[in-house]
């Protein structure tokens, strides 16, 4: 209960600052929190990354194994994305099967990677119709201080860049780096009072869960979008957010180039 009252007070404070175009942590409206990406932190995984986005922390681990292809794509590898919002990451997360927010999170990350064709799945066929590589992307939230979405998407592509296909373990020839050819980047905005802020923190989320995530590829094409939260979006805002998302994604993509 105490926390709820605090949240209410914070909410008023955040909204009044926002009216003056300011944020409580001093960031500009379109400023993303400091980002730290560490790759290869789980040697037992084929690829891994820890992303810190301000105080938000997410680990993504990539595991790979041979398996049966889907009948409609006999010569292509498979991507399976899963997210776990473990209770360790937030007082509001509860143990149990994935709820709608973790499913939504996993599916948005998955769409960005899949639709940008970031991984060249045609190079992951072992034996057509029989055996292909399956890529398991597991998103493991550690600390939810807001915008797990963008942190997870960034961690996923970072982990993929760091992934080695473990062919030797399965006696299928030599290990080789996972063929990654695009860098999808998700940018999430929080809308409030006719304004928007990029990369909302947990405290800022208290003013309302009105989010729009736009994922773009290295050529500034839009590859995935999701309006999330109970609100209605003005068309002009939508266009504005497309432009800012393209611009901010370019900044983040620079960080990925160093991996």
């Amino acid at each position: 209960m105490g926390e709820e009252i605090l949240m209410d007070i914070k909410k008023d404070y955040i909204l009044s600052k926002l009216k003056d175009g300011e944020r409580i942590d001093g960031r500009k409206l379109d400023e993303i929190r400091p980002i730290d990406i560490q790759t290869d932190i789980i040697p037992k995984a084929e690829g891994s990354a820890l992303v810190k986005l301000g105080n938000t922390q997410v680990i993504v681990g990539v595991k790979m194994q041979p398996g049966e292809p889907f009948p409609d794509a006999p010569d292509r590898g498979i991507i399976i994305t899963n997210a776990e919002l473990v209770p360790l990451a937030s007082p509001t997360f509860e143990p149990g099967p994935p709820d709608e927010s973790s499913i939504e999170l996993a599916r948005i990350v998955d769409r960005g990677i899949r639709e940008s064709e970031a991984v060249d799945l045609s190079k992951l066929c072992i034996e057509e119709g029989e055996k292909v590589w399956i890529i398991f992307i597991d998103i493991h939230a550690l600390d939810d201080d807001g915008n797990l979405m963008d942190a997870s998407a960034l961690a996923a592509i970072s982990a993929l860049l760091n992934t080695t296909v473990p062919a030797e373990n399965f006696s299928i020839g030599d290990n080789f780096p996972l063929p990654v050819r695009d860098l999808p980047v998700a940018i999430t905005s929080l809308l409030a009072d006719g304004r928007y802020i990029i990369d909302p923190s947990r405290d800022e989320m208290s003013i309302g869960h009105k989010l729009l995530t736009i994922t773009t590829d290295k050529n500034d094409n839009i590859v995935a979008m999701q309006k999330s939260g109970s609100y209605i979006l003005k068309e002009e805002k939508f266009y504005e957010l497309i432009d800012v998302s393209v611009r901010k994604a370019r900044e983040l993509r620079e960080l990925l180039k160093n991996i």
């Binding site: 794509a73 709608e100 599916r107 639709e115 500034d220 209605i232 497309i242």
Partner: protein
């Protein structure tokens, strides 16, 4: 891990038919043309509101129950009604039998659809109660979430739920480099992008966006064009929704 992401979008390139021939689509439609739509309100006796809708080969039924008591009780909200939306596909609705029950896709569709209605339903009028929207896909042929939203709108009006506007929904796809309205199965499977939209319509005008998703690849310019195209399509659907509701009520007058 019990549930996995199904790779439902990957299709063999060599199976791809020519989707656009002489400026026409496979079913003879123009680029900005909707599939034939059929709607009927009040088709279920037990539900407080209902609608049957066909959009091309999609066949969906929507039912609304409520405002009514919320079970389980702890979900009640003392200040407003709780909205629930359940999107479900019948096992026989698709080529290959779908395992019954919610999968990850249905959970996500249910979430974003509920979130589309929450801001327009006047929930404050019904504290402690629940409004349940159930949509069942009987036959699927791309665009089921948009078909369901259109049916749900009519069912909500049929149930007499006060709303700040109506929702009309349609998708735009990119197929062989061109934008097409209301894609059918082939265009969805083999197309380059799919953008489902739902708009809030008030006083006969599109006011804002209630649902927005996208997968595929589109330039920023194309996205803006797609939005304009979807708005035109949604207005046509809105007119049909109105007619459907009027028809139901004029029928009742005769009794």
């Amino acid at each position: 891990m019990a549930e996995v992401e199904i790779n439902d979008k990957v299709v063999r390139k060599e199976d791809k038919p020519q989707l656009i021939v002489d400026g026409k689509r496979l079913d003879g439609r123009g680029f900005e043309e909707l599939r034939p739509i059929k709607m009927e309100a009040g088709i279920l006796k037990r539900a407080d509101g209902s609608c049957y809708l066909e959009m091309g080969r999609n066949k969906v039924v929507a039912a609304v129950y409520g405002p009514r008591e919320v079970h389980p009780r702890h979900l009640q909200d003392p200040s407003k009604a709780v909205i629930r939306y359940r999107y479900n596909m019948a096992p026989f609705s698709v080529e290959e039998r779908k395992r019954p029950g919610p999968d990850r896709r249905s959970v996500e569709i249910s979430k974003v659809s509920r979130e589309a209605y929450e801001p327009i339903i006047m929930k404050e009028l019904f504290p402690r109660s629940g409004i349940d929207i159930f949509v069942e896909v009987l036959q699927a042929d791309a665009g089921t979430r948009t078909a369901c939203l259109n049916a749900a709108t009519v069912a909500l009006v049929d149930a007499g739920i006060p709303m700040k506007g109506l929702i009309s929904s349609v998708a735009v796809a990119k197929v062989e480099g061109v934008l097409v309205l209301d894609p059918m199965k082939e265009e969805d499977n083999f197309g380059e992008a799919d953008v489902p939209f739902a708009f809030v319509i008030r006083n006969g005008k599109i006011e804002s966006i209630a649902l927005l998703q996208m997968d595929g690849r589109m330039s920023v310019e194309e996205m803006k064009k797609a939005t304009e195209m979807a708005k035109k399509g949604a207005m046509q659907i809105y007119e049909l929704q109105r007619e459907t509701i009027m028809k139901k009520y004029s029928k009742e007058d005769v009794d």
